[in-house]
């Protein structure tokens, strides 16, 4: 126990321990931040993929697809009771042309049944017009306070819209001026004086004290406070004034105001849609009234306003990925929807694939659609290329469904409709081991089903879990994480060496003390324990600081990121480039605990060799001289 006592005394009375503690602290903090953000990223990708795909995917590797999917779905439903829902998907490749914008883009045309797709994935929740926008309105209405009548809500929405409009006016002027380099430094406000006065006062007092007491320490403190305080004040209050010509700040404010106005406008329009003279008591009532229960491709009657004649209105709607290029995106990740597409015309051309897998260029099919909605899944590849359209329409365009005029009895020309994928949602999908077992069972059932049918002309079907399906991409990301951990381990090695060196110094410095402790009866083991315990405490204290600051940093990443922007105008995580509009800001408590244990271990390991060295010191030699 004297070991603990001595360790505590060394800890509190030797300043050198600050260094290993600092090193452990910084290293652990970095480790937690980097792995949390990386891990958060991987988790998000996983989550998004799963929301996109459902639990299990049945597909074959050719673009030509495979037939009898409806019968297969029924067969599976009968034989695998764990299946909750399934839905077919057709993938076709082609071009989307937006004549009103003079724009076109290569796209993947995905034929789906919107209702069925919503049962297996988050398709509905990803739609803007049919889900997010009315949901935003509901949130706004709730924020106005419930219960309220329709008229009261409408009044509040009008006020909010007006308010947002004034705000955009206020934000627009400085933005435009800044763009032209016309802005002068804004005047200093009272807030900045609040910061300057204490720094000046405190520095002055310290300087006075230093003069009176002739104390060098006070003088140094005064200088430190002046420099640190001065830099902080400069950064916080003057930096944006030093760079008034930098219009990024005003641009940011303007974009924010634009987003607000757009939302207020939509909320206002929804308030008009509310049934008159009704009292809204709960959020649920509003959701029921405003949010469509089922997603749809139907072109609504008001679309006619965009077309010259009623005959010109397309029969079918389509839903585009939000990143296909319709909306610019700002640094916060908001899509600027001020130039809304309002059922505009989209001409989609499909390059059909024959049932043998060859290209059928001569029979490329074009079809006119109206854009009815956009979808934001968060996966860039999907959002930038997918255009969803009704299943049968895409099948026909891709020659995966016979012309309706051909009767099934016409053996020569009729063929069974084909799809590329069937997505499956399970009743209980949260058990990864069970998922794989079930996937194997479904594979067997599928094989069984096709035994009775001839599938020679089609490649055999594969049943994969969402996880296996995305394994390649995820593995790449996870490999990157392993790489990071490897680099961080190298860093830990540095920590180990630093602790070793400092302990080496401490032991050499304490040679005589070690001799004395031996002379009063301390054993080799006892002396060894002093330093090991010392190392443990350094690991524990540095580790605790690292955990606290690392976790604090991770959970506030987005705020810190915003603060850095406000201070310097620098955007590190550019949402217009990254998939996600928030930096991952969660941490894995188990992982953090493991790192903490590792830091304590590093403390002990780093101290081990010097501790053993100390234990074996020749006591008689150590006490011989002064």
């Amino acid at each position: 126990m004297y070991q603990i006592f001595l360790t505590l005394r060394y800890l509190t009375r030797k300043k050198i321990v600050i260094f290993p503690i600092l090193v452990v602290w910084l290293c652990l903090m970095m480790m937690i931040i980097v792995t949390s953000i990386m891990g958060g990223f991987v988790d998000r990708v996983r989550q998004t993929n799963r929301e996109l795909l459902g639990d299990i995917v049945i597909s074959n590797p050719t673009a030509a697809g495979w037939p009898y999917y409806e019968e297969l779905q029924d067969y599976l439903k009968k034989n695998v009771p764990e299946i909750e829902a399934s839905t077919p998907v057709v993938h076709a490749y082609g071009l989307m042309n937006l004549p009103n914008r003079g724009a076109n883009a290569p796209v993947q045309i995905v034929g789906i049944d919107p209702v069925g797709r919503s049962k297996v994935s988050k398709f509905r929740e990803n739609l803007f017009q049919q889900y997010k926008s009315p949901m935003n309105a509901v949130d706004d209405f709730v924020s106005f306070g419930l219960p309220k009548t329709s008229e009261e809500l409408q009044k509040a929405a009008t006020d909010a819209f007006e308010h947002a409009n004034q705000a955009i006016d206020a934000a627009e002027e400085p933005y435009l001026k800044a763009r032209m380099g016309l802005v002068e430094s804004p005047p200093l406000n009272a807030k900045s004086l609040f910061a300057i006065v204490p720094v000046v006062l405190f520095t002055g007092l310290l300087l006075l004290g230093a003069q009176k007491k002739r104390s060098f320490k006070l003088l140094v403190s005064a200088i430190v406070i002046l420099v640190v305080g001065g830099t902080t004040i400069t950064l916080i209050y003057f930096w944006p004034r030093i760079r008034p010509h930098d219009f990024r700040f005003t641009e940011d404010a303007y974009q924010q105001a634009k987003v607000n106005v757009d939302r207020a406008n939509r909320t206002y329009r929804f308030s008009i849609d509310l049934a008159p003279h009704q009292k809204w008591n709960s959020r649920q009532e509003l959701v029921d009234a405003l949010v469509p229960r089922q997603p749809t491709f139907t072109v609504p009657p008001e679309a006619a306003a965009r077309y010259d004649t009623p005959a010109a209105v397309p029969k079918n709607g389509c839903i585009v990925g939000v990143q296909v290029g319709l909306f610019p995106r700002d640094r916060r990740g908001n899509f600027d929807r001020t130039h809304r597409f309002d059922f505009e015309k989209a001409i989609i051309t499909v390059v059909p694939v024959t049932s043998k897998g060859g290209l059928n260029l001569g029979s490329a099919q074009s079809e006119v659609f109206a854009l009815v909605d956009d979808s934001y899944t968060g996966v860039y590849d999907v959002d930038s290329t997918y255009v969803y359209a009704p299943l049968e329409v895409v099948q026909s365009m891709a020659f995966m469904r016979p012309d309706p005029s051909i009767s099934p009895d016409d053996k020569q020309n009729w063929f069974p409709p084909r799809c590329n994928e069937v997505l499956i949602k399970l009743k209980n999908s949260n058990d990864p081991a069970g998922l794989e077992a079930l996937s194997n069972r479904i594979q067997n059932t599928v094989d069984e089903f096709f035994e009775k049918r001839t599938l020679e002309r089609f490649a055999p079907l594969q049943v994969e879990t969402w996880n296996q399906r995305q394994a390649k991409y995820l593995n790449a990301v996870e490999n990157e994480k392993v790489m990071q951990i490897f680099i961080l381990s190298l860093m830990s090695l540095v920590v180990l060496v630093v602790i070793y060196l400092i302990f080496h110094m401490i032991v050499r410095d304490k040679t005589r003390d070690i001799g004395i402790i031996k002379a009063i009866g301390g054993s080799e083991l006892g002396i060894c324990t002093i330093f090991l315990f010392y190392g443990l405490v350094i690991g524990a204290v540095g580790g605790a600081l690292g955990v606290i600051s690392g976790v604090a940093f991770v959970t506030h990443t987005n705020q810190i990121h915003e603060a850095i922007f406000q201070l310097t105008g620098i955007t590190i995580w550019d949402r217009s480039v990254y998939l996600f509009d928030r930096i991952p800001d969660t941490y894995n408590a188990f992982e953090v605990a493991r790192y903490y244990a590792v830091s304590m271990l590093a403390g002990v390991l780093g101290a081990l060799i010097p501790a053993m060295f100390a234990a074996r010191l020749d006591a008689a030699k150590a006490v011989r001289y002064e």
Binding site: M1, K14, K518, A519, I520, G522, E524, A620
Partner: protein, 242 residues
Amino acid sequence: MNNTPLIQLRNVHRTYKIGPDEIHVLKGVNIAVREGEFVAIMGASGSGKSTLLHVAGALEDPDYPPAGTARPDDGVFFRDQALHRMSLFARHDLRNRHFGFVFQFYHLLPELNVLENVILPAMVAAPFFMAFLRARPRKKEALELLEAFGLSHRLTHRPNQLSGGERQRVAIARALINSPDLLLADEPTGNLDAKTGQSILDVLINLHKTRGQSILLVTHDPHVAALADRIVHLEDGRIKTP
């Protein structure tokens, strides 16, 4: 008083190796300190006095005689127990509870205050988890010792805030906290002026007289040696008795 010596060195050798060279410092030393005796060792500088003290205090080992030449009676004996037959643990215990060292340069731990320095051997003595419990009653003893040495107003001072004489008194208090059988002092006044040195000697003499403390003291100074019951001279690695 029984006849077995408290500590006895019989034909003790000690050689230091410096690279290829060997320095034969103790060349068959024979010396015994009896219970309650105050023995002074004198000798020229470099004659091996400190080495002798360290060997006697189990702080370092004498040479092991070459195989086959060992005589059963050779070695260092504490109350007739051969140190070289003792377990490591027993030797730590010996240094802790039966011997008390006082050094020329005080050798206090600079990070501990006066009271903590004095009480440290008591903490070392206690088994791991009992240390604080056992050390508590020892605190009273430590306070008494420091009081007796006129240091009760400096309990929380650190060694570097004390004068040389004060430090040496703290060191003696530390050596005494576990009531050792033998006090081993290596030139305890060597670093002090005459007056302060005398006060330290007074403390030692007083201990010897009132408590019957056995002391083995190394000194250059004949005046100091004169205070002892017996003086032995170390010359050419051997004890020269006049």
